[in-house]
């Protein structure tokens, strides 16, 4: 067998995994790998303007495709700049592989130029990570990294590549099935547990499906919709679960938790059975734990055993892939002789009526005030003008919650948001990654005026690759979400949340060669959006919204979910 360089081997491994796009930023430690990449027509390298954006873009790419996203960073500061992106992907269980350059093996540990122990730094925020210790293990590690990232509960995997190993010659061995003694994720549900869960459902009169990102990650949305509609069970979604069930469906109660709908929070509080699928009882969802779903038995389906009974005691745990568990439950109901699906459905009619009543009493809403632009209205118009079918990324803050509340996603893999870590600066690079993965789709970043400035430099990336992402800034000249807390809980002391010194975003867009549009009145909103969608270029829309608008309903931190502040 002939020898090839480490760099060639890495590229071969990427092609083996069907990678077509990688996001990165060069430097001395990875210069040989970049040299090799430039010889490879099958791999597009997207040069970002900051390494954090490379990781977010790979993450956005992964969220919309379900494939593993790839980022390539140089050693030292390149790698540390990527850490926020890695932690973001980790908290949301997104499969990405991050390749970092490292100083040559003999120099490791010597405080060499641009040396950092990135494996040590990222140990708690990766699913797994590797320092390639010898050239012999390079190919095996690359293959394992992709395997670990995409299987089980997905997550980011980092591979640290010393420069000498990238340069050295190695034998490239053919792929064989990956066998890892200590890592064998379980996908199959235990049929006894499935039966128990289904029996519990037949006993329930007020069931609620509480679904999270696990349904989307396992591509189980169809199976979820089948179960919900077959049995007439209302559905509420976490922030990460939005899109797992069609937002316009009559059984959809929207999001639950801190900024969830009145209906969803009331329904969970009153339910007698909570069927949790791919969600993890996060504190933003449960509010005060001892008052969360106190009347309910709980079924918890999750691929990660550590999520089960972590925060809430569970009656029927099912450790499995969400899609497979839902499929098993559907076929149980279809095939069980003593069960009539119609009769099961009928059992929930009173409950459904009650829910409809709540929905009519307290729908999501906002007060229209003449020509002022209400942020919710902007999101509603975006929804309307894209038929609820755009890919929507967000930054973090009020605008993120308005996007979650007012854009009704009909499909999974359309909503990209940093749910777990809450990373401002996530949305724009993620939208670029998404648009490159799905050029056929409209990609919008719903942004805040604060957040967009965290990765605004990516306008150059978007321009370089002709990525017509549309940015909609809901500009309140505040770090609005923090301001809202200050308004409600700190006597309106707006400490360091006023952002009235900011660039002219329209001119800024133009400076990058993108298009900048602005709306200052409600009547301009629709035209601005239409124009933005019509232009084949990166567009930044600056919506001057009513500055002190709040996100409601709101459950104050530490309070019960039924103690909502309403509009």
């Amino acid at each position: 067998m002939s020898q090839i360089s480490g760099a060639q081997a890495i590229v071969k491994c990427l092609l083996e995994e069907n990678v077509d796009t990688i996001f990165g930023y060069p430097g001395g430690a990875v210069i040989d790998l970049y040299d090799e990449l430039s010889n490879c027509p099958d791999l597009t390298h997207v040069l970002v303007r900051h390494e954090q954006a490379a990781v977010h873009a790979a993450d956005g790419y992964a969220r919309v495709t379900g494939e593993v996203g790839v980022a390539l960073l140089t050693s030292g500061p390149g790698a540390t700049n990527g850490v926020t992106g890695i932690a973001t992907a980790y908290m949301d269980s997104i499969p990405i592989v991050i390749l970092t350059g490292q100083v040559p093996t003999p120099l490791i540990g010597n405080d060499a130029f641009q040396e950092v122990d990135i494996v040590g730094i990222t140990r708690p925020c990766t699913k797994h990570n590797y320092l390639v210790n010898s050239k012999e293990e390079l190919v095996e590690v690359m293959r394992e990294a992709f395997h670990v990232a995409r299987t089980g509960r997905p997550g980011p995997v980092l591979v640290d590549l010393p420069k000498d190993i990238i340069k050295d010659g190695i034998e490239f061995e053919d792929r064989k099935p990956i066998r890892m003694q200590s890592y064998q994720p379980n996908y199959e549900p235990h049929m006894g547990q499935v039966e128990k869960a289904c029996r519990l459902i037949t006993e329930a009169r007020k069931p609620v499906l509480y679904v999270g990102g696990g349904v989307i990650l396992s591509d189980g949305a169809t199976e979820l919709t089948e179960l919900a509609t077959k049995l007439n069970i209302p559905v509420t979604m976490t922030l990460m679960g939005l899109g797992a069930f069609p937002g316009h469906h009559e059984l959809s109660m929207g999001m639950l938790g801190m900024h969830g709908t009145y209906t969803a929070n009331m329904a969970v509080a009153e339910s007698d059975l909570l069927i949790s699928v791919g969600a993890r009882f996060d504190d933003r969802v449960t509010g005060k734990l001892d008052t969360f779903a106190t009347n309910a038995k709980i079924i918890h389906i999750d691929i990660d055993p550590t999520s089960i009974s972590k925060n809430v005691k569970v009656d029927v745990p099912i450790v499995a892939d969400c899609k497979k568990a839902l499929t098993a439950m559907n076929s149980w109901f279809n095939n069980q002789q003593d069960i009539s699906v119609e009769a099961e459905k009928a059992k929930h009619q009173d409950w459904f009526n009650k829910i409809t009543n709540w929905q009519e009493l307290h729908p999501l809403g906002y007060q229209d005030e003449g020509e002022q632009i209400k942020p919710q209205y902007v999101v509603e118009m975006l929804d309307k003008l894209t038929n609820g079918d755009a890919i929507v990324a967000t930054e973090v803050g009020q605008h993120q919650m308005w996007a979650a509340q007012f854009y009704r996603f009909s499909d999974p893999r359309r909503f990209l948001t940093s749910g777990g870590l809450g990373t401002m600066g996530y949305g724009f690079p993620a939208a670029i990654g998404a648009k490159l993965a799905r050029p056929d789709k409209i990609c919008i970043d719903i942004a805040g005026d604060g957040s967009i400035q965290m990765n605004i430099q990516e306008l150059a990336t978007a321009r370089q690759y002709n990525t017509p992402v549309k940015i909609a800034i809901l500009n309140n000249q505040f770090l609005g979400m923090v301001r809202q807390w200050q308004e409600l809980f700190y006597d309106k002391r707006y400490a360091s949340t006023v952002m009235d010194i900011a660039p002219d975003f329209v001119k800024l867009a133009q400076a990058y060669g993108a298009v900048g549009l602005r709306a200052t009145k409600k009547s301009e909103v629709e035209d601005v959006i239409k124009e933005a969608l019509a232009v084949d270029n990166t567009v930044l829309m600056d919506f001057k919204i009513s500055r002190e608008e709040g996100v409601f309903p709101m459950v104050p931190a530490g309070k019960s979910n039924t103690e909502m502040l309403l509009v």
């Binding site: 140990r123 003694q181 890592y183």
Partner: protein, 165 residues
């Protein structure tokens, strides 16, 4: 409640810090920790004594198992087991106390492993309470230095304790 967990790990660089990082990052407590190679040089065995109610121990075992390099986690306390710890003690041994020290060592089935003109270094193995006991008895004579290994444990009978998966 105290629990003794026996954890089989891939014997690779950095694996120990994955385990200790997990304990510190999630606020779990470590009372003692011992790690060494097993019969299979690619695998090491870590014995960790930790404290917590059942829910915490359940989380610890699950979280440990979630680490990619962890092969098996056994909660030794779920069955019968033998635990041992070793201590090395340098104790004063002047003319008038030498005989006394030797007698105590004998009672505890310890060994003298080093002698100097006015001290003995001794080795004692046993349960933690036995180790505590000899330390208490030697203290009045004058202990100069103590090094303890931390506990290791093995299940009684066949190696059939159920792994937590």
């Amino acid at each position: 409640m105290k629990h003794t967990l026996s954890v089989l790990l891939q014997n690779k660089p950095g694996v120990l810090s994955r385990v200790t990082g997990l304990f510190s990052g999630r606020g779990f407590n470590i009372e003692s920790l011992c790690v060494a190679e097993t019969l299979d040089p690619k695998v090491s065995c870590l014995t960790v004594i930790t404290k917590g109610d059942n829910a915490i121990i359940e989380q610890i075992t699950k979280q440990l198992h979630k680490l990619i390099d962890v092969i098996k986690v056994v909660d030794i306390d779920e069955g019968e087991f033998v635990e041992r710890e070793m201590v090395l003690i340098r104790v004063n041994a002047e003319e008038h106390t030498r005989a006394e020290v030797l007698r105590i060592i004998d009672i505890f089935r310890g060994k003298v492993v080093d002698v100097s003109p006015n001290s003995y270094a001794i080795e004692v193995t046993g349960s933690s309470s036995k180790i505590e006991a000899i330390i208490d008895i030697l203290r009045p004579i004058g202990i100069q230095e103590i090094v303890r290994t931390g506990k290791i444990a093995i299940a009684r009978g066949r190696a059939s304790k159920k792994g937590v998966t």
